[in-house]
């Protein structure tokens, strides 16, 4: 990308709240039901129905606003956003327009050792639409499933403070971590419970003008967001360089082709004819309610990170990785709680555990390996029942099978050999087979010791206790 171009990015994230019921009716808030079975007259928009706000939606929204350091409005309301689409039964969406529940917040993004504060313009409540599935090309029809109608959403809008596609991705990862921490959403982009649209524009470096922006849609993962923004920034930079006009347009990310494609030119913003929903009464948010929600907030990522550094003596980077997601942080603390060895646990969790999770494409909660498994394994190492090297193999098998470490060690005969008698014969054999190396060692080459130990380990398939081997060799040389 050209250095003369400054990229200006803002992100709009829609998050499905995982309350028990929908926003304005008591239908279960569930994903994956048979089409058109998870609806009632209200979310279907039948003639005559009326909405009633789910209290848990309001509380989740306040909690989210507080987690993003927003001001919580003391007076708020719902508005109707009027437009026609087959996935919107009433042809209006209940949303919030000019008095959103939360405003003027921020999120700190840590990247490459630095922290940048990204402004959050607003967080507001709205209801989701249904799903429209297009028929085969040329068939001329679409199919509508109303199950998702009325699912509660929060819309989280950032200020256009992001400056690189990487930063945008980091923002999303932090956003997701916080939302998981406060337990308001599953945040699964692949299930649609977290969706992201981006606004991006370009200006000459040093300028403070905001140029017309592109809206980029159809990004289905955080990685896609990063790549789409990179592609779009490049495209816009090229326009800037050629001195062409920017136009307000909506572009879709084409993952396969690796480019954004024009969807439509944005004319003057659609006239949504917003007006306050007469079927819903105003919200007056008392300071008491806000205080109550605030006091029930769990420890947020930044605070937890600080605590890990202080209480467990972890360096900033490690603490950052371990608090990257709430399930991971919980897993770590459960291990430390039982084993009291924060550094060793940290090594295993940041090392092998994360590596295996990634390799098998699993979330922490899906892993068969539990904190008690890891703790037990550490105890086996401490007692010398297995060597550190063997432990890696045991760990991997634990991860895959979910068996307890002891069972694995027994089943595969991996117990460390710490009996001098058992090892003596092997040690002697190695010494007999390598007289030159033995001579080197006697002459003072410590590297020779390593070789000899290595040979014993090889002969015992790694199960010999290395310290004992070391001792035995020294005795016999």
């Amino acid at each position: 990308m050209n250095d003369g171009c400054e990229v200006v990015i803002g992100l709009e994230v829609h998050v499905e709240l995982h309350t028990r019921t929908k926003a304005f009716c008591s239908c279960p808030n569930e994903f994956g039901s048979e089409p058109n079975t998870n609806v009632c007259p209200v979310c279907m928009g039948l003639p005559g129905v009326l909405p009633v706000l789910n209290q848990a939606v309001l509380e989740s929204a306040i909690r989210t606003g507080l987690a993003f350091n927003c001001e919580i409005a003391s007076f708020s309301k719902f508005d109707r956003k009027n437009y026609y689409y087959p996935d919107l039964p009433k042809n209006y969406q209940v949303s919030q327009y000019d008095l959103p529940l939360c405003r003027q917040g921020y999120l700190d993004v840590e990247m490459d050792g630095a922290t940048r504060r990204i402004g959050i313009t607003r967080v507001h409540m709205e209801e989701d639409a249904g799903k429209l599935v297009h028929g085969p090309v040329g068939s001329g029809y679409s199919l509508v499933d109303t199950n998702r109608c009325g699912v509660p959403l929060l819309e989280i809008v950032s200020e256009p403070d992001l400056r690189t596609p990487e930063e945008a991705r980091a923002y999303l990862e932090k956003l997701k971590a916080i939302l998981e921490y406060i337990d308001v959403s599953d945040c699964k982009m692949e299930e649609g419970s977290l969706r992201c649209d981006a606004n991006i524009s370009i200006r000459p470096a040093g300028s403070t003008v905001l140029n017309p922006k592109s809206e980029v849609k159809n990004m289905n993962s955080f990685r896609a967001v990063q790549h789409a923004l990179a592609a779009e920034a490049e495209r816009l930079c090229a326009i800037l360089e050629e001195g062409d006009q920017f136009i307000l347009e909506t572009r879709a990310w084409d993952e396969v082709a690796g480019v954004t494609v024009q969807m439509r030119i944005k004319e003057e913003a659609s006239d949504y004819r917003y007006f306050p929903d007469p079927d819903l009464v105003p919200l007056v948010i008392s300071p008491d309610l806000v205080a109550q929600v605030r006091s029930a907030l769990p420890e947020l990522p930044s605070a937890r990170r600080q605590r890990f550094m202080a209480d467990y003596g972890l360096p900033a980077y490690d603490a950052g990785v371990l608090t990257g997601s709430r399930p991971l942080a919980d897993f770590y603390e459960a291990c430390v709680g039982a084993s009291h060895d924060s550094k060793t646990v940290s090594n295993w969790v940041m090392g092998e555990f994360l590596r295996l999770l990634k390799a098998h494409n699993l979330e922490v909660e899906q892993a068969r390996l539990t904190p008690s498994h890891l703790v037990e394994m550490l105890q086996l190492i401490d007692r010398g029942d297995i060597s550190g090297k063997i432990a890696k193999a045991v760990f991997e098998e634990m991860f895959i099978s979910g068996s307890r470490p002891r069972e694995i060690v027994e089943a595969r005969g991996l117990a460390q050999i710490s009996d001098a008698g058992a090892l003596s014969a092997v040690v002697q054999q190695v010494l007999d087979e390598n007289p030159v190396v033995v001579e080197d060692y006697r002459k003072g080459k410590e590297k020779a010791m390593a070789f000899l130990v290595g040979q014993v380990m090889k002969a015992t398939r790694g199960q010999a206790n290395p310290q004992l081997v070391n001792k035995l060799i020294r005795e016999r040389c």
Binding site: P47, N82, Y84, P86, P89, R273, P278
Partner: protein, 514 residues
């Protein structure tokens, strides 16, 4: 007096004394329907089989000695804007001609739980927009006092049915006068409760901040009894008032000495028919005879109420009626032979064909008032005006217990007389509209005749003052006896109504058809 002429409470007393069965009463009502509905055309759907089954069931329970609600076993009609599970609900529109709701409106469920025997669904101006029931997509309803005249609207079907003896009582709905004005034109009692007193869940919305369900009855006692059954907080309606519901019949004392009644001079100006004016003034004198203190007052923003309403109501309606698009329910336009519609064409044709002219007019008006660039000058401005109108009433109610006026500026007008001039039709609601804007209750009670046609007296009170209004209305009614008058509607015999009888039979056949 015929069975069909009796009030609901008289029928209830007969049932409780064991002098008649529900089946007999329902039978008499349906015979009356078959006799006269060919002429009156109050009913869109007649539910005779279901009604008789309910009646049988209630008779059975009564024989077992069960203690039944007071009005159990008494037939009732429902304006076709109230959702009834398994029974088509058309709202007087082609758009919903075949729509069968899978749920009951709260008020329907409440009446059902009280043992009401539903006779059927009653005709109305399409989507409750109109003042004459001529905007029904199916047929106009006729005034039982003069079949060449309109019954008023939009609850013309319920008003005519009650006036013609085709239902002992009915539920109507009122957004700008749609209960009170037809009640006035048909010589019956009609009450629009305080906004929020009666649940709107299941009432197909026209203007959400103005709509209310209310009783339409032959006398004030019936009105109080029905209000008892339908009033009360509903957790399914966020705008439902969490207030305790008194026994409204306890206000029927006949005693109104010392009550102060204000009469706005603005309501006796231009546009008021001389005959109506005379009858209403006479009625005010009767109130004074009863000991009420009747005084002139001023309603400062009276002339702005109508324009205010005709911005707010259509704006809300334009959004409430957006759902009628042929996707999930209701009418969908079919393309001409061999053709195909894309989505936009389907929307545009469905809505243009499914809605009548008045509905389209109001949707256009409302869309315009909300649109970018006009919102402040029209919708927002109207909402501010609404505050001024509410404040006018608040000030008046510091001085007066109730405000009185004619309900309608004219006696029933002839079919076709105003249907070509929308503005002139809108003026029918000039006295009733302020009540909806302020959210206060209003009742219309029969107060006499001009040229043989009914005139109604409107009483308005502060929020939740239905008790006071019923008290005044009851005292007035008992003193004047107007509630005893019955429309001189003959039975079958003339060739004209014979042809309409065949139509009735046709509607019977359609009664539960989806």
């Amino acid at each position: 007096m015929e069975i069909y002429d009796l009030t609901a409470h008289e029928l209830a007393d007969l049932l409780r004394r064991g002098e008649m069965t529900s089946v007999e009463i329902a039978g008499a009502i349906f015979r009356r329907i078959h006799d006269v509905d060919g002429d009156v055309q109050a009913y869109v759907t007649i539910t005779e089989d279901q009604a008789m089954e309910t009646a049988r069931k209630i008779d059975g329970e009564r024989l077992q000695g069960r203690d039944l609600p007071y009005l159990a076993g008494v037939p009732a009609g429902l304006k076709d804007v109230l959702c009834t599970r398994g029974i088509r609900t058309t709202c007087g529109s082609r758009m919903l001609e075949h729509f069968v709701p899978p749920y009951d409106a709260t008020v329907v469920a409440k009446l059902s739980a009280s043992g009401a025997v539903f006779t059927g669904k009653l005709n109305m101006d399409e989507f409750a927009m109109g003042s004459s029931t001529e905007n029904s997509a199916f047929f106009p309803t006729r005034n039982p006092w003069d079949l060449g005249c309109v019954p008023g609207g939009s609850s013309g079907g319920p008003a005519a049915a009650v006036a013609a003896g085709e239902a002992p009582y009915a539920l109507g709905t009122d957004t700008g006068g749609s209960i009170r004005q037809p009640a006035s034109l048909c010589g019956i009692v009609g009450l629009k409760p305080t906004y929020g007193l009666v649940s709107r869940y299941g009432l197909v919305a026209f203007a959400s901040s103005l709509d209310q369900v209310g009783p339409m009855t032959k006398d004030v006692r019936d009105c109080a009894l029905v209000l008892n059954l339908i009033a009360g907080h509903d957790p399914l309606d966020s705008t439902s008032a969490p207030v305790p519901v008194p026994d409204y019949t306890s206000f029927l004392t006949g005693e109104i000495r010392g009550l102060r009644v204000g009469v706005p001079r603005e309501f006796f100006g231009d546009g008021l028919d001389a005959g109506v004016s005379a009858v209403v003034k006479d009625s005010l004198a009767k109130l004074a005879e009863l000991g009420a203190i009747v005084e002139e007052c001023s309603f400062s923003h009276a002339e702005y109420a109508l324009p205010c309403y005709y911005l707010i109501a259509p704006a809300e309606a334009s959004s409430n009626l957006a759902r009628y698009d042929g996707v999930h329910y209701g009418y969908r336009a079919m393309p001409p032979d061999g053709g195909e519609y894309d989505l936009m064409e389907m929307y545009m044709n469905t809505r243009s064909q499914g809605f009548g002219a008045e509905v389209k007019r109001r949707i256009m008006l409302g869309t315009y008032a909300l649109s970018s660039g006009y919102y402040d000058a029209y919708y927002l401005k109207a909402l501010k005006l609404r505050t001024l109108i509410r404040d006018d009433f608040s000030r008046l109610f510091e001085q007066f217990d109730a405000i009185a006026s004619p309900t309608s500026p004219t006696p029933p007008f002839r079919l076709g007389e105003k249907s070509n001039d929308p503005l002139s039709m809108y003026l029918s609601d000039v006295y009733t509209i302020p009540v909806n804007l302020a959210g206060i209750p209003g009742i219309s009670v029969p107060c006499g005749f001009t040229d043989g046609l009914p005139v109604g007296l409107q009483l308005m009170g502060p929020v939740f003052s239905e008790g006071t209004l019923l008290r005044i209305a009851y005292a007035f009614e008992q003193h004047t006896g107007h509630h005893r008058a019955r429309a001189p509607l003959g039975c079958s015999g003339s060739g004209e109504s014979g042809a309409r009888q065949a139509e009735t039979a046709g509607r019977q056949g359609r009664r539960d058809a989806p």
